[in-house]
């Protein structure tokens, strides 16, 4: 009886990785999925936090993909190891702080090590030549295979016929003719293949699946690094960059202002780590104060908190100020007017 070959598929939760895995499954290969959690994944976070998004179906798209494929999915926490990719990308950043090429190399390398440790035969990704400006170009895709160490055990089933044959093709584990020759940024071939397989309701995130490709998020991360004087971060730091309005009125502190009930609830989980403010005479947001502050800074923060409360047009607003030791006091402040808030305070 012939050996059933085994492939590990990088499953992002998007359409391409879903299709790539199915194309290989169709050839009788045993496929399992692997998904890496970097902390920057868009997956569900803001949906889980913001109340206005709570009516949307909440799901992790990588798990959903695995469910559609009927395969096991191994979700790997790489938060700590991934820092070096974000902080020191050998191949540089894309338009924002997105180290796409280094990221892909890192993930394929991790998948390659997993493959060897678990007795699998090759790796599948949903990459398509010419689809992405940094990591999926004709000249960079061989770099991913080479620098990850995967070499010709890395199969891209959606564009394989545009690339040199890999070992699984040469060895006859895969029929090259039943792989695809997609290229470029058009999504039409993928949509057609999804219809052929009967996949519906697949994820097509407009901004991609990583916060680092988002300009506004990258501005906030760059601000974090600059004000701390180093480029390190912890998971809580990068989670908080996804939530609320961020304003830096002075170099020594910034405010994180909840925009609605869901964000306020989320920020409550951080109350013990930060000085925090809450309008008490009027409904208003929870505000975290990040930095080292003096009394004048706290007064300004309270006036800003009042500005974002229902009392913004009142003569004065009472604001609770809680320091990290649990001491509570109240300040009566005049809310700042919109014109008093320079646009460059907003990150």
């Amino acid at each position: 009886m012939p050996t059933t070959r085994k492939a590990i598929a990088l499953i992002s939760g998007g359409l391409d990785s879903l299709l790539a895995a199915r194309v290989v499954q169709e050839q009788g290969i045993h496929v399992e999925g692997i998904n890496f959690y970097t902390g920057f994944c868009v997956e569900g976070h803001t949906h889980a936090i913001r109340r206005q998004d709570r009516e949307r179906p909440k799901r992790n798209n990588a798990l959903w993909s695995a469910g559609q494929l009927g395969i096991k999915l191994h979700i790997i926490d790489i938060i700590d190891e991934y820092k070096d990719v974000v902080i020191n990308p050998k191949h540089g950043y894309g338009a924002n702080l997105n180290p796409c090429l280094d990221c892909k190399i890192f993930m394929v390398d991790k998948a390659h090590r997993w493959m060897e440790a678990h007795g699998f035969d090759f790796i599948i990704t949903g990459e398509v030549v010419g689809q992405r400006p940094m990591s999926q170009r004709k000249d960079t895709m061989p770099v991913v295979a080479r620098d990850s160490g995967a070499g010709d055990l890395l199969v891209r089933p959606l564009c394989a016929r545009n690339l040199p044959p890999t070992l699984p093709e040469r060895a006859g584990w895969l029929d090259r003719e039943r792989l695809h020759a997609f290229s470029g940024r058009s999504r039409k071939p993928q949509i057609a293949l999804a219809a052929q397989y009967g996949f519906e309701d697949f994820a097509q995130p407009a901004g991609g699946c990583c916060f680092l490709t988002d300009r506004q998020y990258s501005v906030k991360l760059a601000d974090l690094w600059k004000t701390r004087g180093n480029r390190n971060y912890e998971l809580d730091d990068i989670m908080l960059l996804k939530v609320g309005r961020h304003l830096r009125p002075r170099p020594n502190f910034k405010l994180i202002v909840g925009r609605e009930e869901g964000e306020n609830h989320f920020l409550e989980g951080y109350r013990k780590r930060f000085i925090h403010l809450l309008p008490s005479s009027h409904a208003g947001p929870l505000v975290l104060l990040d930095g080292t502050v003096n009394e004048d800074d706290i007064l300004l923060a309270a006036r800003l908190a009042a500005r974002f409360s229902k009392g913004r047009d009142a003569a004065s607003v009472t604001v609770e100020v809680n320091d990290n030791s649990g001491t509570l006091r109240h300040l009566e402040v005049e809310p700042l007017q919109a014109a008093d808030i320079p646009q460059d305070w907003y990150l």
């Binding site: 998904n35 569900g44 936090i49 992790n60």
Partner: protein, 81 residues
């Protein structure tokens, strides 16, 4: 059979799933995990994760914003790394 509690409160998906996955890898078939969460995404994600990895979902209870999901660890999948 043993029972363990996995505290994944204030974590956003997929971290509760990862915590459950890591705990399940330390369990024997038939063991029970109770995962405590606050992200409502777990109501979709943990049942899917259980289904594709050979575990089953028992009671799901909600109290205010807290969700408790019981997982019965299956026999086959003990290697989640």
């Amino acid at each position: 059979m043993s029972s363990r509690i996995v505290d994944a409160r204030n974590l956003l998906c997929p971290l509760p799933v990862i915590r459950a996955q890591d705990a399940a890898a330390q369990c024997r078939p038939g063991d029970e995990l109770q995962v405590l969460c606050t992200d409502p995404g777990v109501l979709h994600d943990i049942p899917v994760w259980c289904r594709i990895n050979g575990h089953s979902v028992g009671a799901i209870t909600r109290l205010d914003r807290e969700i408790a999901i019981t997982i019965h660890v299956g026999g086959e999948d003990r290697d989640d790394g």
